[in-house]
Structures are given as structure tokens and as C-alpha cells.
């Protein structure tokens, strides 16, 4: 392999990982926008998505059906959690809310352990075929799926928030819940909807990478932390910002692992996060 092909290979893996981070960050942002809450249980939806789909596919359910069923299950789970556990905590402090979502993540992880056991599971790739050769670098077909899914999801989110009444209502709730409710928007329903969306996208991220990963009940922690980083670098409430930050994060990680050091790639990423938080607390892309 030549140097160019190495660089391209790192690009591929960077975009793959970055897309996953971007999806998780977006799922966090959607929940954050309407609930002003960062959900520490988001990594669990990643795991539930991946493992539900793996189980369904191994039981002989056709891949497209398994795909949509897994998303719907995650959405219902997310909505249920919002309705039953988060809503009663309306007046709690940020610390208490964080610990509540931690408690939920513990319970969900415990549930995943009961359902899927301690072993790792791998999903077959969405489509069979040889990797495509690009200037000496191998492009696995699943990477195309991951990037494609990310692009479609981002387009749908953009369309939803900009063009549909429900999306505009959701933005209104994020801006000013009281004002929105005066305008006749059902804020509770909108919040519920946002949680369903967020959980679904979190699950989707897990499903998309499931063929490239050994997923087990504890696999959600690191993707979630990276999603947090992307979200914080992008400026907590910004979908576009967190997508760019997620992709950037994936690329930085991939190139530092490839070119500098695999040992310190996480040190660099987290130092980057601290620097952004301290020097640009509203995100890297905000106009201050």
C-alpha cells in the first residue's frame, strides 16, 4: 500500500466512525433541545438497536423489516421512558436529572444483559459483496450504508424541522415552552415525540455499525461519550454543529491513530473537548 492509499483508508474509517458519532450527537441534541436534558442513557439505545436487529435477523426476519421494527421498538422505549420516568422529574436539578438518566442507563444495560447475555453479537452486513478498491484502499460496502443512512437521516431531520408543522412546533417548544403552549402547541406530546426520534436515531447508529462491531450489553458507553463530545464541540443545541463536530471527531481520531499514536488518540480528543469548552463554551461554530 502506498502512502496515498493509507491516507484514503484513514479517511474511510474516519468518515465511518464520524458518521456514527454524528448520529449519536444528533440524537442527543434532539432530546436536549426540547427537554434541556443530556440523556446518559443514549448509549443504551445504540446497543438495543444493534442487538434487537441482530436477533431479528438471526430469527429469519427479512433485513428491511428487522431494520424498521428495531427502530420502532427503540422509539417506543424512548417515549415510554420520557413519559414514565423523566416527566415526573420536571423540577429536579441538573445533577438529579443526570443521575436519573444514569439510573435509566443502568436499568437498560441490566435488561440488555438479561436478554442478550454477556457474549458479543455480530450482524451480517446489509448487502453482500467484495470491498471496492479506491486507489489501493478498501472500501467496505457497509461503509456506504452507514454514510447513506446518515445522509438520509440528516436530510429527514432538516426537512422535518424546517418544513413540517410538527417540526416547527418542536422548535418552538425548544425556544420557549411556555410561549409555545400559549400558541396551542401540546408541549408534552412534542417532548414525547422528540424522545421517540432521539431514541430511534440512537438505535439507528448502533444498527448501522453492528456489522462492523462486536456489540454486547456494555458497548454503549464509549459511543455515547464520543457523542457527548461531538455535541459539546458543536455547541449543545445545534444539529448542524454537532454533525460537523461528529465527522471532524471521527477524522481526527482516525488520523491520530493512523499517523501519530493509537495510545494518545483519546487524550488528544478529550483535550480538544476541554479546550473548546474553556475557550469557546458555545461551541466551535458559534458566532460569539
Amino acid at each position: 500500500m502506498s502512502d496515498i492509499s493509507h491516507l484514503i483508508q484513514f479517511l474511510f474509517s474516519g468518515i465511518t466512525v464520524g458518521s456514527v458519532y454524528a448520529l449519536i450527537a444528533v440524537s442527543l441534541v434532539i432530546v436536549y433541545k426540547v427537554s434541556q436534558l443530556i440523556c446518559f442513557a443514549q448509549g443504551e439505545f445504540f446497543v438495543f438497536g444493534a442487538l434487537t436487529m441482530t436477533t431479528l435477523v438471526s430469527k429469519g426476519v427479512p433485513v428491511p423489516l428487522a431494520f424498521f421494527l428495531s427502530i420502532i421498538i427503540a422509539m417506543v422505549l424512548g417515549a415510554l421512558i420520557q413519559q414514565v420516568l423523566i416527566r415526573p422529574m420536571k423540577n429536579a436539578s441538573v445533577g438529579a436529572l443526570i443521575v436519573m438518566t444514569i439510573a435509566i442507563s443502568l436499568a437498560l444495560r441490566g435488561l440488555a444483559l438479561l436478554i442478550w447475555g454477556r457474549e458479543s453479537h455480530v450482524l451480517p452486513p446489509f448487502s453482500q459483496g467484495e470491498p471496492i478498491q479506491v486507489l489501493g484502499a478498501a472500501l467496505q460496502l457497509q461503509i456506504l450504508w452507514i454514510v447513506g443512512i446518515t445522509a438520509v437521516v440528516l436530510f429527514l431531520i432538516w426537512f422535518f424541522f424546517e418544513k413540517t408543522p410538527a417540526g416547527i412546533a418542536m422548535r418552538a417548544c425548544a425556544e420557549n415552552p411556555y410561549g409555545a403552549s400559549l400558541m396551542g402547541i401540546n408541549t408534552q406530546k412534542t417532548t414525547l415525540f422528540a424522545w421517540a426520534w432521539g431514541s430511534g436515531i440512537g438505535a439507528l447508529a448502533g444498527m448501522a455499525v453492528a456489522p462492523m462491531l462486536f456489540t454486547q450489553y456494555t458497548s454503549g458507553v464509549m459511543p455515547m461519550v464520543k457523542g457527548f463530545i461531538a455535541m459539546s464541540i458543536g455547541g449543545l443545541g445545534s444539529i448542524i454543529g454537532s454533525v460537523i463536530a461528529g465527522l471532524l471527531l471521527g477524522l481526527v481520531e482516525s488520523y491520530t491513530i493512523g499517523l501519530i499514536s493509537s495510545k494518545f488518540s483519546d487524550t488528544i480528543v478529550f483535550a480538544l473537548l476541554m479546550a473548546v469548552l474553556v475557550f469557546r463554551p458555545n461551541g466551535l461554530f458559534s458566532r460569539s
Partner: protein
């Protein structure tokens, strides 16, 4: 009854002192209580920062790591005495907290949570990265047991007493801190930073000091942990440990000192009861925490105080 209300902590002290004599615990049992004690030190320190000063930290295990690794490396590789190494760890942690405190604590709520989380990960990845010094991911071994004045605390009961004396000192000093003018300034910052500032409280300075104090306690806990285990690995000090500490605080009742101590004790002894449910353990832990958060926002300590007030009605003075 009034005497009981005032001196209940003496009964607690007596129970801690007498337990090994009456209970004759196995090394395993006393080991559990040693761990619980170490986590109580961590939780009480974090309570000063979170419960009283109102500053979230999702990275407190970073200072636990600094204490443990300073002690471990200096005693195992450079022949320091454990007490001296513990002292170096304390100074090192306090300096680190002093240097990072101001910029990090200028952040609020989620931003602060993310920054402390990042700090924790940086410390852990550095420990993993500098393999030559720290043993890397596979851990640091051959850490000698603690010695005081040449007397080695090899016996588990000796170490039990040593750790719990430190626990009592940490709790007593924390109560003294909270009742001091410094503590009142911290509480003022918690309830309203703007107002505190307009009354002349230098918020950044006080927040950094609270952070340093919490870091010092965590560092001591780390040293105690390293010498008890004889072996430490980065896994013991990651974000999950920090998150566990948060859980202890809220489970026990944040901002009460005794609450987080109770939370730590409860969470460290709970596996003794739930281990028999094996795979259900994680789910049970999560559900207990959810139930406490939803129905008892003041935590286990809140439940106890409510019970006590029922049994011993408040007398008007």
C-alpha cells in the same frame, strides 16, 4: 431521648470500633468495609463540591487515580515510604485541581459536566499511555502495604481501623468546613452565584478551593486504595467510577455529608445481597436508584431523618 438525638454519632463510632471485635469478620468481610470506607471518603469530598458548592463533576475519579498512582509508583518503584508518597499525592492532586479549577469551574451545568468528564478521560488515557511508568492498561503491581512508624498494616483488621479512622476524620473535618465561614460562602455560591458575588464572595477562588479540598480527599482515598489492593489498573478510575460516585451522592441524599456516606456504604454492600441474583444485579441496582430518585428525592438519609423525626418528635425550644 434528647441525649440520643445529640450523641447518636457516638453510637455510630462505637459500632465501627466494636464491630471487628464482636463480629470477628473474615478478611473478605472486612475488605468490603475497607472498600466502603474508601468510597465514603470519595463521596463526602465530592459532596462538598457538588452538594454544598453546587458544582457538578463527572470526573472525580481522576483525583482518585492521581492519588493511587502517585502512591503506587513512588512506593513500588522509587522506595518512598507510603505515608510520604501519600503526602506527595495530596500535594500533586491539590496543585492539579488548583491549575485546572479556575477555567473548568467557570463553566456551568452540562458544560461543566462534560469538561470534568473529559478531564477524567485525559488522566486515564495518560495513565494507559505512559506504560513504562504506570504499567499501562495491564496495571501496576507490587505496591507494598501501608506502614506507619515502621509498623506494617498487613493485617486486614489493622487496615480496617486505619481506613475508618481516616473516614471519621474526613467526615468530621467536612462538617467543620461546612459550618465555617468558608462553608457558608460555598453554600451562598450554590444558591445564587450572582448574589454571593455582590456580597463580596470571590466565587472563582472559593469554587477552586472547594475543588481542591475534594481533590485532596479523593487523592487520600486513592492512596489507601492502592496500598490495600497492592495492584491497581486504569479501569478502577474511569468515568464509570465517577458516575458511580454521583449515584452514591444522590442515592444517599446530596448536600448532607452523612447522606453520601450512607450512599457509598449502601452501594458497596448491596452486591452482598444482590450477587445471588447474578445477572439481575445490574437491573436491580438501576431500579433501586430510579425508585429513590422518583419517590425519595432527599435520598436514604432523608428517609432516615423522616423516620427519626417520627420516632423522636421535634421538641420546640
Amino acid at each position: 431521648m434528647n441525649a440520643l438525638k445529640r450523641y447518636w454519632w457516638l453510637i455510630l463510632l462505637a459500632a465501627i470500633a466494636v464491630y471487628p471485635i464482636i463480629g470477628k469478620p473474615s478478611p473478605y468481610r472486612s475488605g468490603l468495609l475497607i472498600f466502603a470506607g474508601i468510597y465514603i471518603i470519595l463521596a463526602v469530598g465530592l459532596d462538598l463540591l457538588m452538594g454544598y458548592t453546587g458544582q457538578i463533576s463527572v470526573g472525580h475519579a481522576a483525583f482518585f487515580a492521581v492519588g493511587a498512582y502517585t502512591s503506587g509508583i513512588l512506593t513500588a518503584k522509587y522506595g518512598f515510604s507510603p505515608a510520604a508518597a501519600m503526602g506527595v499525592g495530596v500535594v500533586f492532586s491539590a496543585t492539579l485541581a488548583f491549575l485546572t479549577g479556575r477555567p473548568v469551574l467557570a463553566l456551568k451545568e452540562y458544560y461543566l459536566a462534560m469538561a470534568t468528564l473529559a478531564f477524567n478521560e485525559i488522566v486515564v488515557t495518560l495513565i494507559i499511555g505512559f506504560e513504562g511508568l504506570t504499567g499501562g492498561a495491564s496495571g501496576l503491581r507490587d505496591i507494598p502495604p501501608f506502614t506507619i512508624f515502621g509498623f506494617s498494616l498487613l493485617n486486614h483488621l489493622h487496615y480496617y481501623y486505619f481506613v475508618w479512622i481516616v473516614v471519621v476524620l474526613v467526615i468530621a473535618s467536612s462538617i467543620a468546613v461546612v459550618r465555617s465561614p468558608f462553608g457558608r460562602a460555598l453554600i451562598a455560591i450554590h444558591s445564587d452565584e450572582q448574589a454571593a458575588r455582590s456580597f463580596g464572595v470571590d466565587c472563582a477562588k472559593y469554587k477552586t478551593r472547594a475543588y481542591m479540598l475534594a481533590a485532596v480527599y479523593a487523592s487520600i482515598a486513592g492512596s489507601l486504595f492502592a496500598h490495600y489492593m497492592g495492584f491497581i489498573a486504569p479501569d478502577d478510575f474511569g468515568i464509570l467510577t465517577s458516575i458511580n460516585l454521583l449515584v452514591m451522592l444522590f442515592l444517599g441524599g446530596i448536600g448532607t455529608i452523612f447522606g453520601p456516606a450512607l450512599g457509598a456504604l449502601f452501594l458497596k454492600l448491596l452486591p452482598e445481597v444482590t450477587y445471588q441474583f447474578q445477572d439481575y444485579e445490574l437491573l436491580i441496582n438501576g431500579v433501586i436508584l430510579i425508585v429513590v430518585l422518583v419517590f425519595f428525592p432527599r435520598g436514604l438519609f432523608g428517609i432516615l431523618t423522616a423516620l427519626k423525626n417520627k420516632i423522636v418528635p421535634r421538641t420546640g425550644k
